[in-house]
Point group: C2
Chain length 356, copies 2
């Protein structure tokens, strides 16, 4: 960490916090934000000073590159407050490195650890009252970077804005979801930007997801370019349990290298489950569903942590998964182990949690 | 056209035009804009009133969907001024329909012809002094739509802004370009958004294009998911001339259905050239280059109209195209025929030009 950068951080506080009017009991994910945000501008080949200032609109030229060429990336992570008021981040180095990996793929500048992680810590210190105690409460963190240079020229911007927003989050039981396996649409190309947390990847999914929802499913599970292998869901990696083995696809240039995915793999192995990281054939999953050896499918991502799947559609058929008791569900065992670790309610043998 | 919508257009003029300080001789493509822009907001399931107002920044919440999920599309078209001061659009119906096709694929609302084409005509009437006469001069038109709803929730926005910017353009001889054939990176997936003029498609190309430029090439020619077929370039469709036959790939869900491409196909047939629309194998083009039957490759798009290619790299080899006399080059014959038609210097047997 470069202490100069942090010493030069410009802090402007709101006159009156809006925290007293915030309903922490009824929180809609990602809808409302805390009093302040962190910003940092990139210009003339370098990042400028960090600023923490009142949450406020961004003003850009209508020809700004982000509006026309989608040069925009983001991250998603969470902070948790322990009963003793300590606040913890979960594997922030992973998000920091992935952010820079996304930046490179989108021809955007990388950012230093001091501005990303150091800046985030300063922001959370200012907003510490917004992080609530208790299992299920967290602060969702949204770092993002957008191309701000004006001019409708299809080439990389030379000016960017880095920004971090904070949004209080509450876990809620959303129920099991039904998914549809993609057999025509795709979210990512071979040699494309699927492994980057690039803005454009998400809008690409909206229309096919809408079609799936109109057909009665909550989400799409994306497949590879030949639609024969299962890859990931909209904002989650996916795990398949056949008998007592957990399968998940290896990451590639099409698949986001999820922090929850890699943490669950480590936790599952720690708990003694067998985990296999290998390509997952659509055919094999259908076969297992027919034979009854397919016990569980679940998604894994920062927002929902783990999302159990109750059944999947493929072409004209729907396959329902068995109703497994909660205490036998790998999905829930892993979710429980991970959220307790994140909330400092158990040991952290992996050293994943970082104190602010 | 719905005359009510046009009658309710709100026009706010600039106090002082900046046209006198604009250097029409030294124009950088897409860098500077006229005095006014057209805007229209979508909210509660419907488009609002058209507004023509001074060109000005856009202010959005930092959590606006366009910044995080890339829900943004655009179009590119041109207007030309005849010697008698009439101003003409070129096939605006094509851009209008493609815009709505892009909108559907990105889960954005379609827009009516009155707001898109009618609104554009009103804007150009206000800005008519900015359209300059003379072959080579044009007004570049940039309609675009962005998702403006706030909230970092990966789902379609329910609020949007439609906007049209105008930028004076001048054709200049950029020279022939060298291209690299993609053998690893891709711009679009099977079942992806390549056929949409979606913002995210462009940022996906920046990094591989930068690598190509560092290796000494101007542009990448993208290939299909197996990297065996030639598809299109960054902002141009591509034509290949083998002996006296022109080949170009059929459009698909990976390839933008270019207006210049389809116009050149029609013009080429009109001029008696043989044109074949069929998948173009990388192997076949290399074979033709080796045999000497590959006479020309050129890109076709609104910005440059036609861009001649002098050679291409594939993996470790570079293939130079023969030096063809200007008067024998299909690329230049077609460019000449098309730009004359667009500028009303010849007949328009296709009825492509539309008077404002
Ligand atoms: C496409 C995609 N896959 C997977 C994930 C899960 O990643 P993580 O566990 O790091 O949140 C995300 C995260 O939001 C995502 O956007
Ligand atoms: C990806 C892509 N291909 C081809 C083209 C050419 O299309 P048009 O001739 O309509 O300008 C464009 C246009 O800018 C484009 O962005």
């Amino acid at each position: 960490m470069d202490s100069n950068i942090l010493n030069n951080l410009q802090l402007t506080k709101v006159a009156v916090s809006k925290i007293d009017t915030f309903d922490f009991e009824n929180v809609k994910f990602g809808a409302k934000f805390t009093d302040h945000m962190l910003t940092c501008a990139y210009k003339n080949g370098e990042w400028g000073a960090l600023e923490i200032k009142p949450y406020a609109p961004i003003t850009l030229d209508p020809s700004a590159r982000v509006f026309h060429y989608g040069q925009a990336i983001f991250e998603g992570m969470k902070a948790y407050k322990q009963d003793n008021n300590d606040i913890w981040l979960f594997r922030p180095d992973e998000n920091f490195h992935r952010f820079n990996k996304s930046a490179i793929r989108l021809a955007m500048p990388t950012i230093d650890e001091t501005r990303f992680i150091g800046g985030l810590k300063e922001l959370i210190k200012v907003e510490k009252e917004w992080v609530r105690k208790g299992l299920g409460n967290s602060l969702y963190i949204r770092p993002f970077m957008i191309a701000t240079e004006s001019g409708v020229i299809a080439s990389p911007s030379s000016e960017f804005l880095f920004c971090i927003l904070l949004s209080p989050a509450k876990s809620y039981y959303s129920g099991k979801i039904k998914v549809q396996i993609a057999d025509y649409y795709s979210r990512a190309a071979n040699g494309g930007i699927g492994a980057a947390k690039a803005a454009g990847n998400y809008s690409a999914q909206f229309y096919p997801t809408k079609l799936a929802q109109e057909a009665g499913y909550n989400q799409v599970i994306w497949t590879d370019s030949t639609h024969t292998h299962l890859e990931e869901s909209g904002t989650m990696n996916v795990f398949f349990r056949i008998n007592d083995t957990l399968y998940t696809a290896p990451t590639s240039d099409r698949i986001l290298d999820g922090v929850t995915r890699k943490s669950l793999i480590a936790l599952a192995e720690h708990l003694g489950y067998q985990v296999k990281i290998e390509p997952v054939k659509v055919e094999a999953i259908i076969q297992a569903a027919k034979e009854g050896s397919l016990k569980e499918i679940f998604g894994a991502g920062t927002a929902a942590v783990v999302n159990q799947i109750e059944g999947f559609a493929y072409k004209d058929d729907y396959y329902e998964l068995p109703n497994i008791a909660d205490e036998d569900a790998y999905a829930l065992q892993l979710k429980n182990a991970l959220t307790k670790l994140q909330n400092k309610l158990t040991d952290d043998p992996f050293n994943w949690t970082v104190k602010i």
